[in-house]
C-alpha cells in the first residue's frame, strides 16, 4: 500500500536526510521505524504526509505517485492519513472534545454522528471521562492519547506516529503501543517512528532501521538489552 522507491531527500546546503530508501508497507501491516535522531525518521514521515517532497525517487500510496498530488489536493490526502506527533500538537484553548472532533468538522460532519465518533475514538484510548477537559489539565500520557484519538477519529487506513512515546515512562509507552496494536488488528496500516529500541524489540514487529539516511535493516530487530 505504501511504497518508497529509491527515495532521496537532500536539503539546501547539501545535507542528505534520506539516501535511496526503498521499502513497502502492505495493507494492514504494522512496522517500526527506528534510528538515532537525525537518521531521517522524521523526514521519511514528512514525505508521506506531503509536508516535504522527495528530491529523487517516488513515494507511492496505493500506486498513486504522491508527486502527482498538487497543492490544492494535499488536504484530501492528509485526511486519509492519521498523524500522531511527538509534542501532541493539541489546540490548548479548546476542550478534548473539540480537539478530537477537528478532523470530522473539517470533513463536514456534524451533530449526533460527530459526537458518536468522537466518543468512540476517546473510548478506544480510555479517555471518555475527560471529554470536557482542557488539554492543559491532562498528563503527558493522556495528552498523547488525545492526539491518537484525533488521528484515528475519521478511521484513516494509514496511521503514522512520530515518537509517540518520546516523553513517557515505560509503562505508559507500553499502553500506547497496545493502542496501536489494537488499531492494527482492525486492519489499519501503522508506521511508528521511535528510538525506543527496547520497546521495539519486545513488540516483535517488522522494523525498518535508518542510519544517516540509509536503510540498514528491514525485518525483525535482533536487539540485546545492554548488560548492566
Amino acid at each position: 500500500m505504501l511504497e518508497f522507491d529509491q527515495v532521496s531527500k537532500s536539503y539546501p546546503g547539501g545535507f542528505v536526510a534520506l539516501d535511496r530508501v526503498s521499502f513497502k508497507l502492505e495493507k494492514g501491516e504494522m512496522a517500526f521505524l527506528t534510528g538515532h535522531s537525525g537518521a531521517g525518521k522524521s523526514t521519511l514521515l514528512k514525505l508521506i504526509s506531503l509536508i516535504e517532497r522527495p528530491s529523487v525517487g517516488r513515494v507511492l500510496i496505493n500506486d498513486v505517485d504522491l508527486s502527482r498530488i498538487r497543492r490544492p489536493h494535499i488536504p484530501y490526502v492528509r485526511r486519509d492519513i492519521g498523524i500522531i506527533f511527538q509534542n501532541h500538537r493539541l489546540l490548548m484553548n479548546h476542550t478534548v472534545f473539540d480537539n478530537v472532533a477537528l478532523p470530522l468538522v473539517i470533513e463536514g460532519f456534524s451533530g449526533k454522528d460527530m459526537v458518536k465518533r468522537v466518543h468512540a475514538a476517546l473510548d478506544k484510548v480510555g479517555l471518555l471521562d475527560k471529554v470536557r477537559c482542557l488539554p492543559q489539565t491532562l498528563s503527558g500520557g493522556e495528552q498523547q492519547r488525545v492526539g491518537i484519538a484525533r488521528a484515528v477519529v475519521n478511521k484513516p487506513p494509514l496511521l503514522l506516529a512520530d515518537e509517540p512515546t518520546g516523553n513517557l515512562d515505560p509503562d505508559l509507552s507500553k499502553d500506547i503501543m497496545r493502542v496501536f496494536e489494537a488499531f492494527n488488528q482492525v486492519g489499519v496500516s501503522v508506521l511508528v517512528a521511535t528510538h525506543d529500541l527496547g520497546l521495539v524489540a519486545r513488540m516483535k514487529y517488522r522494523t525498518l532501521t535508518l542510519k544517516q539516511g540509509k536503510m540498514i535493516n528491514d525485518g525483525l530487530l535482533q536487539y540485546q538489552e545492554d548488560p548492566l
Binding site: 506527533f85 493539541l90 463536514g108
Partner: protein
C-alpha cells in the same frame, strides 16, 4: 473525497446518505455557526476589536458626512429655480396685441413653465416704489422702461435655460433676452468640485480602512499560526481555515458601519440647533436632511464589503504562507 483510497467508504459526510435538502440546510446552519463563532472571537479580544471597529467607524464617518453636506448644499441650490428666470425685453413701440399673441405662444410652449407679463406702467410703478426716486420720476415726459416678459423654463439647469434664451431672443418683437445664470453655474461648479473632493477623500479613507482591516486580520492569523498548522496537518483546506477570518472581516464591517452611522446621526443632532438659528436669520425653509434608508443600507453594504475585501486580501496572502513543519 478520497484520492488515494478509492474504496474508502466512510470518508466524509458527502459519502453518507444525506438528502440534498438537509445538506442545503446544514450548509447554512454551518455558516451561521461559523459567523457566530467569529463574533465570539471578536468578543474574546475586545481591545483589538474595539480599536479596529473604531478606526473603521471614524474613517467611514468623514465620507458619510461630506456626502450629507453635498446632498444638503444641492438641496439649497435646487431651491434657487428663480435663478434661471429669463427676462425678455420687448422692442419699443410694439403694440399690446403683438405682446399678447407672443404671451399666448409662449404659454403654449412645452419648455416653459410660466410666463409673466410686466407692462411698462407696472415696471415704472414698481421702480418708483423700490428705488426711492418717486418724486423725480414724475418729471419724466414718457416711460423709458420697456415691456418685459418673465419666462420660467421647465428645465432650470443652466444649459437648457441658455438654449431657451437663444431661441426666444430670435422672436421678432424681442429686443434682447437676459438670463442671470452666471452665479448659478458658479454654484453648480462649486457643488461638483465639492462632490469630487468627497470622492477623492472617500477613496483615500477607504483605502486606509482596507489596510487597517488587512493588518488586524494578519495579526490574528499570526496569533493562530500553531492552530492553523495543526488544522492543515489534519487535512483542512485553505478555504476552511480562512472562513472564520473572513467572517471577522464582515463583523468589523457591520460594527464599523453602525458606528459611522451613529456618529453622523449624533453630529446632525448636535448641529440641528445651530443650523436652525442660521436659517431662521435668512428666512429660509431649509431643513437638514439625514440619511435615507437606502443611504443607510449603502453605507452598511460598503462597510461590510470593505471588511470582507480587507480580510480576503490578508487571508489569501498569509494563510497559504503558513505551512506545517512537523511532525
Amino acid at each position: 473525497m478520497s484520492i488515494l483510497f478509492s474504496g474508502r467508504a466512510s470518508s466524509g459526510a458527502s459519502a453518507h446518505k444525506i438528502s440534498l435538502g438537509r445538506r442545503f440546510v446544514m450548509f447554512w446552519v454551518n455558516h451561521v455557526r461559523q459567523a457566530l463563532f467569529s463574533l465570539g472571537e471578536l468578543w474574546r479580544t475586545p481591545s483589538a476589536s474595539i480599536l479596529t471597529i473604531g478606526v473603521l467607524g471614524v474613517s467611514l464617518t468623514l465620507p458619510a458626512t461630506l456626502h450629507l453636506l453635498v446632498k444638503n448644499v444641492q438641496q439649497v441650490s435646487d431651491s434657487f429655480t428663480q435663478a434661471a428666470e429669463i427676462s425678455l425685453f420687448i422692442k419699443d413701440g410694439t403694440d399690446d396685441r403683438q405682446i399678447n399673441s407672443l404671451l399666448k405662444i409662449l404659454q403654449a410652449d412645452n419648455d416653459i413653465a410660466r410666463v409673466t407679463h410686466i407692462s411698462k406702467q407696472q415696471a415704472l410703478a414698481e421702480f418708483a416704489d423700490v428705488s426711492g426716486f418717486g418724486a423725480a420720476l414724475t418729471y419724466l415726459t414718457d416711460n423709458p422702461l420697456p415691456d418685459v416678459l418673465l419666462v420660467l423654463p421647465k428645465n432650470t439647469s443652466a444649459g437648457s435655460a441658455r438654449q431657451l434664451l437663444d431661441r426666444l431672443s430670435k422672436e421678432r418683437i424681442v429686443e434682447f433676452g437676459k438670463l442671470d445664470i452666471d452665479w448659478l453655474t458658479r454654484l453648480d461648479a462649486i457643488v461638483s468640485l465639492l462632490r469630487q473632493a468627497v470622492l477623492v477623500i472617500a477613496i483615500l479613507l477607504l483605502g486606509a480602512v482596507l489596510l487597517i482591516i488587512g493588518n488586524t486580520i494578519r495579526l490574528s492569523i499570526m496569533n493562530k499560526k500553531d492552530e492553523i498548522e495543526v488544522m492543515k496537518l489534519v487535512g483542512a483546506t485553505d478555504a476552511f481555515i480562512q472562513r472564520p477570518f473572513l467572517y471577522s472581516g464582515v463583523w468589523f464591517g457591520v460594527f464599523g458601519g453602525l458606528l459611522a452611522f451613529l456618529i453622523v446621526e449624533a453630529m446632525l443632532w448636535w448641529l440641528q440647533g445651530a443650523i436652525g438659528s442660521v436659517t431662521s436669520l435668512y428666512d429660509s425653509e431649509f431643513r437638514l436632511m439625514a440619511f435615507s434608508v437606502t443611504e443607510f443600507f449603502s453605507l452598511m453594504l460598503l462597510a461590510v464589503l470593505l471588511g470582507l475585501t480587507g480580510s480576503y486580501l490578508s487571508v489569501r496572502r498569509h494563510i497559504s504562507a503558513i505551512e506545517p513543519t512537523g511532525p
